[in-house]
């Protein structure tokens, strides 16, 4: 089953495969990782069948290897994503997304009276609970809970 899914998006020789992205959020991942600016070949698959997610998305980026802290930026939207590092068509390393200590510029502060909702200020949160994902705004100090997180 897994192999069949993989085949739907062409294999890469060297690079990174980000698998198990919620189908609707593939382009969010593209923008958070600024893949639109990348010069190498990027292949995107959307609405692929997945036993776990129902449908899923996959992104394959040739000749690009991410640092763990770059990968962790997608923790809010694709916490279950699997990262495969490919060398010579083989998976040489697997990584998972870890919830970072700080989230910069990805989520919106839920406090309508917060400065980040008045001026063009890059949002910044401390992750105060990594399991339940609650974010404390660096500016207004209010907590945004997981169910209220809005991605910018």
């Amino acid at each position: 089953m897994k192999e069949l899914t993989e085949l739907k998006v062409s294999a890469i020789k060297d690079g990174t495969v980000i698998d198990h992205i919620p189908a609707k959020l593939v382009f969010k991942v593209v923008s958070i990782l600024t893949l639109e600016k990348i010069e190498t070949q990027v292949t995107i698959g959307i609405n692929l069948k997945s036993q776990k997610l129902g449908t899923k998305g996959i992104i394959k980026i040739s000749d690009k290897f991410f640092k763990q802290n770059e990968i962790n930026k997608i923790a809010l939207i694709a916490p279950a994503a699997k990262i495969n590092i490919i060398k010579g068509y083989e998976v040489v390393e697997k990584k998972i997304v870890e919830v970072p200590d700080e989230i910069v510029g990805i989520a919106k502060c839920m406090n309508p009276k917060c400065i980040t909702n008045f001026e063009s200020v890059t949002t910044k949160f401390k992750v105060v609970d990594k399991k339940k994902i609650s974010l404390k705004c660096h500016f207004c100090e209010k907590i945004t809970l997981k169910e209220h997180i809005e991605i910018l």
Partner: protein, 302 residues
């Protein structure tokens, strides 16, 4: 503390609190000194707060400093649509220190990150007002001769009242026991109770006044504001339940003092004012010494 902005009470350590208290006591002994000679301090009040502004300006004037700024945003460039960033970056070029009050939460932290000079937060909406908290600490130290092991009773709006939250955080270094009295709707938020539990600090919650106030060293009263209630009937029901009256103070300890961040509406009956345990007017005066201490330590003059 030199060159460091003061935005939130948690920006300071226990040692910093004690240092400010020590310096404030020095300024209380000799409040007129020429330490700020040649210094220009901007007081930017994007929303009016006469009490806080005058306290800061008095502190600066007594130390020989100069004040520039505005008392409300109606008279400033803000009305012309200038962004906070632009205002702060411009003003920072004209002064050595910025003191700002702004209705938007987080605005002071943001200003401190764009300004090239230190910023003191004089209130950012419902968020923080650290100089109030430091003057509360100073008042407690002064009236009790210590900060450790005190029994502190907080009354009123404990949900939205930023002064009680800051005081709770600051006092948590000094092994206090807390009693919280508020209507159900305005109870102390769980995050603060959890914070105390993690530190092993005792607290008790009450919906009405009972015998426990005879144990109190400090009674800290805050205003229950009508606008906090979506249902005006709810407000009518609770507004008179939390009024401190003189006859309630008979069995309280002799060292007990009543604090209030002011302005008061009716939550402390005027018959308390003559009681020697009423401390809220002197508390306001302490604000000048505490602000002198904060300003001079940030400017590295003390």
């Amino acid at each position: 503390m030199k060159n460091k902005s003061l935005i939130s009470i948690t920006d300071y350590s226990k040692e910093n609190y004690l240092r400010i208290i020590e310096l404030a006591a020095e300024f209380e002994k000799s409040p007129v000194q020429n330490l700020l000679n040649g210094k220009v301090i901007a007081c930017l009040f994007f929303e009016p707060s006469t009490r806080t502004r005058l306290s800061f300006e008095s502190a600066i004037n007594r130390l020989g400093g100069r004040v520039i700024g505005f008392a409300d945003s109606g008279t400033s460039s803000v009305q012309k649509g200038e962004s906070l960033k632009d205002t702060i970056m411009t003003v920072a070029k004209y002064c050595d220190l910025i003191i700002m009050r702004h209705p938007v939460e987080g605005s002071a932290r943001y200003a401190s990150e764009v300004a090239k000079v230190p910023v003191i937060n004089a209130g950012d909406g419902a968020n923080q007002h650290p100089t109030q908290c430091l003057l509360d600490l100073y008042s407690i130290q002064k009236t009790q001769g210590k900060l450790n092991n005190l029994n502190i009773c907080m009354i009123g709006d404990l949900k939205y009242g930023r002064t009680v939250h800051s005081l709770l955080m600051a006092m948590s270094y000094f092994n206090p026991t807390f009693h919280f009295i508020s209507p159900e709707l305005l109870k102390m938020p769980d995050e603060y109770k959890l914070y105390l539990e993690n530190l092993g600090i005792k607290y008790f919650e009450h919906e009405e006044f009972t015998g426990f106030i005879s144990e109190a060293d400090i009674i800290y009263v805050t205003r229950v504001q009508k606008e906090r209630f979506s249902d005006p009937i709810e407000y009518e029901k609770v507004k008179n339940a939390y009024i401190l009256k003189n006859n309630m103070l008979e069995k309280t300890k002799s060292n007990m003092r009543i604090l209030h961040p002011l302005p008061r509406v009716n939550e402390i009956h005027t018959d308390v004012d003559e009681n020697a345990k009423a401390y809220y007017f002197i508390q306001a005066l302490n604000g000048v010494y505490v602000r002198q201490a904060i300003i001079t330590s940030i400017l590295g003059l003390k």
